[in-house]
């Protein structure tokens, strides 16, 4: 099967450059099957080793602030309302009313139909992809299952972009991936990337969710990471948060290793977003350590690393207050959103 239209699409440029212009299901499969395997025991041992780093005093203070700057504050509930989104945005803009030096989060992440509400609530604080303010990220492509036709997925994406989303979090077709139809997965990512294009030619940032909990093996995670990058992902993201296990440290480490390999090969920097299940500051700090020691500190910026989380922020705020005052307050001293 030839992936015909993708040859013409700009987002597939990476794949063409690496694999060649005769991009076929077969050439794609050959490339992915040629990737080095992953030894699960060794990967998990390395992640466990990184998790033993002891981050104290000034390093901890910096880490806590950095975590806040890297958070995509998320609400992805069937029960989401404009009011809930407004509350989330208020929290994103002013995480700790008792301390104005608290940084803002990177983005709010909502369902596509809530994008307009988020944009309105942000008002002038909307970064719209700029260097200051808060971005609006939307999950799209029949999130979280991804079980819809390509046409529906593209419409979902275009809707969100048109409503003002700066970032699109798409899901890959895990069914296609697991049945070996890498070309289908590739084509869909390429097409969604194209749907991220705005009328003025600029593009919304594309995060590709692999849903690692459904891919099951580390070898699969590595292949899917490569596939997503080749197809044009700006970010690779672990999970929807709707499937267990969601983000784990070994999976994130593995994705960072792929990103590192890509950087060595091309000089291009791809972002990574672990999402789901990261609830404590202690956990989040382990991710920062893993990023810094795997790809380098320059990845600890919102354009290259994000946490997809909802409850993490309040734990970080509690820890931040503890570091400043020397004692723990309690859950009633941080605001719920």
């Amino acid at each position: 099967m030839t992936i015909e239209q993708s040859v013409a699409l700009a987002p597939a440029a990476r794949a063409i450059q690496l694999i060649g212009t005769d991009l076929t299901e077969k050439s794609l499969k050959l490339h992915l099957d040629g990737l080095s395997g992953v030894d699960a025991v060794g990967l998990e041992a390395r992640a466990a080793g990184l998790a033993t780093r002891s981050i104290k005093t000034t390093s901890k203070a910096w880490a806590l602030d950095t975590i806040i700057r890297l958070i995509d504050l998320t609400t992805l509930e069937g029960a989401d309302t404009p009011g809930k989104v407004q509350s989330l945005v208020a929290k994103a803009m002013n995480p700790d009313p008792s301390d104005p030096t608290t940084p803002r989060v990177a983005a709010v992440c909502v369902y596509g139909d809530m994008v307009a509400d988020a944009v309105a609530a942000l008002g002038s604080a909307h970064a719209a992809g700029g260097p200051t303010g808060i971005n609006v990220a939307a999950v799209a492509t029949a999130f979280p299952s991804g079980r819809a036709s390509l046409a529906v997925k593209l419409a979902d994406t275009r809707d969100a972009v048109a409503a003002g989303a700066d970032e699109i979090d798409m899901v890959i077709d895990r069914g296609a991936f697991l049945s070996g139809r890498y070309g289908v997965v590739f084509e869909q990512i390429v097409a969604v990337k194209e749907a991220c294009r705005r009328d003025d030619g600029s593009m919304a940032h594309l995060k590709v969710i692999l849903e690692t909990g459904e891919l099951n093996t580390y070898d699969n995670v590595r292949k899917a990471s490569w596939l997503a990058i080749l197809a044009g992902a700006d970010f690779i993201k672990t999970s929807t948060g709707k499937v267990q296990p969601a983000a784990t440290l070994p999976v994130t480490l593995l994705m960072l290793q792929v990103v590192n390999d890509w950087n060595r090969l091309t000089g291009e920097k791809i972002g990574v977003k672990p999402a789901g299940g990261i609830r404590s500051s202690k956990d989040a700090i382990r991710y920062l350590v893993t990023v810094a020691e795997t790809v380098g500190e320059e990845w600890l910026h919102p354009h290259l690393f994000r946490f997809g989380a909802s409850s993490l922020l309040n734990d970080v705020l509690l820890q931040r207050q503890k570091l400043k005052t020397g004692h723990y307050s309690g859950p009633d001293y941080v605001t719920i959103d």
């Binding site: 080095s36 992953v38 030894d39 060794g42 390395r46 002891s54 981050i55 005093t57 810094a292």
Partner: protein, 517 residues
């Protein structure tokens, strides 16, 4: 500020109740030695830690006599189940006092606290737990019904894993019913002396374990003592050879765990990121002060450049410095003498034409330090490819085919360990079968477990430690004696005629020696 310059996170020394002076631990008590005391220092900053007694030959006699008495009167009469109780108690106390032991170890040895805390001390406890379970099951040790202990074991251990080597020696010896005189290395006596306090806390009968400190002459007096039945030594091949020579014909049973120059073989289908970790762990774990270290990297030629490139990137993230800082990856070299040896051999490597690369580490002003170093363009004839450096220095060689990898891996006078990295199970099994090494790791390196026997081929020594085999090294068959050892302790050697062993017993010993060599 740079996040990677993590703020200092030192483990507190206050948990360690250091004494100014440590005596010899003989017959259940600390007592003065009759040699000139010496000072043990921290290799990280050369500061003195404590004054340590020095055992002369008279002290060695006293210690061996105490061990003999304890063997005759107490330990050999005790049931296996009761011996096991003591070992379980020791294991639990090691766990309870693990932080203190880890601090003592890192302070005296220079190894990073994360290694002493996460590897050494947990393994020490594991070793005692494992052999505690064996104490009442000796019938299943593979030597037939009612095997007997050997008697008094003289044990001399090295400085690279002071407490772990102590556990490897003492746990099986006691489980099998022997009593022990152990000499820790001159530069690292501290953790063994803290362990002696644990023995007191555990109420271990006096004399069952005696710990005497001193230098090489103390060790020599101990292993050559006529009333010793078993000699167990871990250390250099040169000293091992001297011990083998001096104990030959004495009837002493002997176990030697000596040097190594292990090949770590990386095939082109290896899981790359994990292989890099494995190479790092293989040679830079414990500053390369590991007899089974993967000091010869054999990498398939077609991935050589990529492996070296990735290795350099990874080594650049290693953190060298204060061994007590929880984020330190590479600690101090244990002694000035060892540092000089590493330096000298590295210079030889350069003179022989190999290419040297060292990680860009800030070397502390005081103490003994050596940056992680790799040599490429190493040929099999180079000294750095043949001699044990015992430091953070990796020699990289290439191969083209599995057959060449096996030939090069085996082309060494040593044979302690080897590593294989490949995603292909059949290749791992096929290559492992043909490697002449006591331990072969597949897709991992430097992993230890008390249930797994450990030991070498060729100049890496003989005998096995760990597992059932390690137990057998402290037992003899019960067939040669009508009565089991637990009810019939052998008379003390001191009151025996000069032939020492009964003829039947001697024959058994000779046979077992023959089988071992």
């Amino acid at each position: 500020m740079s996040f990677l310059e993590y703020a200092p996170a030192p483990e507190s020394k206050s948990i360690l109740h250091l004494k100014k002076d440590y005596g010899l631990f003989i017959d259940g008590d600390f007592r003065d030695g009759h040699g000139t005391p010496f000072t043990t220092i921290s290799p990280a900053d050369e500061s003195p830690i404590a004054r340590i007694a020095n055992a002369n030959t008279a002290d060695v006699d006293t210690a061996v006599a105490a061990a003999r008495r304890a063997y005759d009167k107490t330990w050999s009469r005790m049931s296996g189940a009761d011996r096991g109780k003591y070992l379980f108690r020791i294991a639990r106390l090691v766990q309870e006092r693990s932080r203190e032991l880890a601090v003592a170890e890192s302070l005296d040895n220079g190894k990073p606290i994360k290694e002493s805390r996460d590897v050494d001390v947990p393994l020490v406890a594991a070793w005692f737990f494992y052999y505690a379970g064996w104490a009442d099951k000796l019938d299943h040790a593979g030597l037939g019904p009612s095997p007997r202990a050997l008697g008094v074991a003289a044990q001399v251990i090295p400085w690279n894993f002071p407490l772990l080597m102590l556990a490897w020696k003492i746990a099986p010896a006691l489980a099998a019913g022997n009593t022990v005189v152990l000499k820790p290395a001159e530069t690292t006596p501290l953790s063994a002396l803290v362990f002696a306090e644990i023995l007191q806390q555990a109420d271990l009968p006096a004399g069952v374990v005696n710990i005497i400190t001193g230098a090489g002459d103390t060790g020599s007096a101990l292993v050559n003592h006529p009333d010793v039945d078993k000699v167990a030594f871990t250390g250099s091949t040169a000293v091992g050879r001297a011990i083998a020579r001096s104990t030959a014909g004495t009837g002493k049973k002997i176990t030697l765990e000596l040097g190594g120059k292990a090949a770590n073989i990386v095939f082109d289908d290896a899981p790359m990121d994990q292989a890099i970790e494995g190479i790092v762990n293989g040679i830079f774990f414990n500053q390369g002060h590991v007899c089974c270290a993967g000091s010869r990297l054999l990498v398939q030629e077609n991935i050589h450049d990529e492996v070296i490139d990735r290795l350099k990137q990874r080594l650049s993230t290693l953190r060298m410095g204060d061994p007590l800082d929880k984020n330190t990856d590479i600690g101090a070299i244990n002694s000035k003498a060892q540092l000089e040896r590493i330096r000298a051999l590295s210079e030889v490597g350069e003179q022989e034409g190999a290419t040297r690369w060292s990680a860009d580490c800030e070397i502390p002003a005081k103490g003994f330090w050596f940056a992680p170093t790799i040599f490429t363009n190493v040929e099999t004839s180079h000294r750095i490819a043949r001699e044990e450096i015992f430091g953070p220095v990796l020699s990289v060689l290439t191969f083209r085919t599995p057959a060449e990898a096996i030939a090069k891996a085996n082309n060494t006078p040593y044979g302690l360990s080897a590593g294989i990295w490949s995603d292909k199970g059949s290749r791992i099994l096929g290559v492992a079968d043909r490697l002449k090494a006591g331990v072969v790791w597949a897709n991992t390196f430097n992993r230890f477990d008390p249930a797994s026997p450990f030991g070498g081929y060729k100049e890496s020594g003989y005998g096995r430690e760990g597992g059932r085999h390690g137990l057998g090294a402290y037992l003899q068959s019960g067939w040669s004696d009508a009565l089991p050892a637990s009810r019939s302790p052998r008379p003390s050697r001191a009151i025996r005629p000069s032939t020492k062993a009964k003829p039947a017993e001697k024959a058994v010993r000779a046979a077992s020696k023959g089988a071992a060599s």
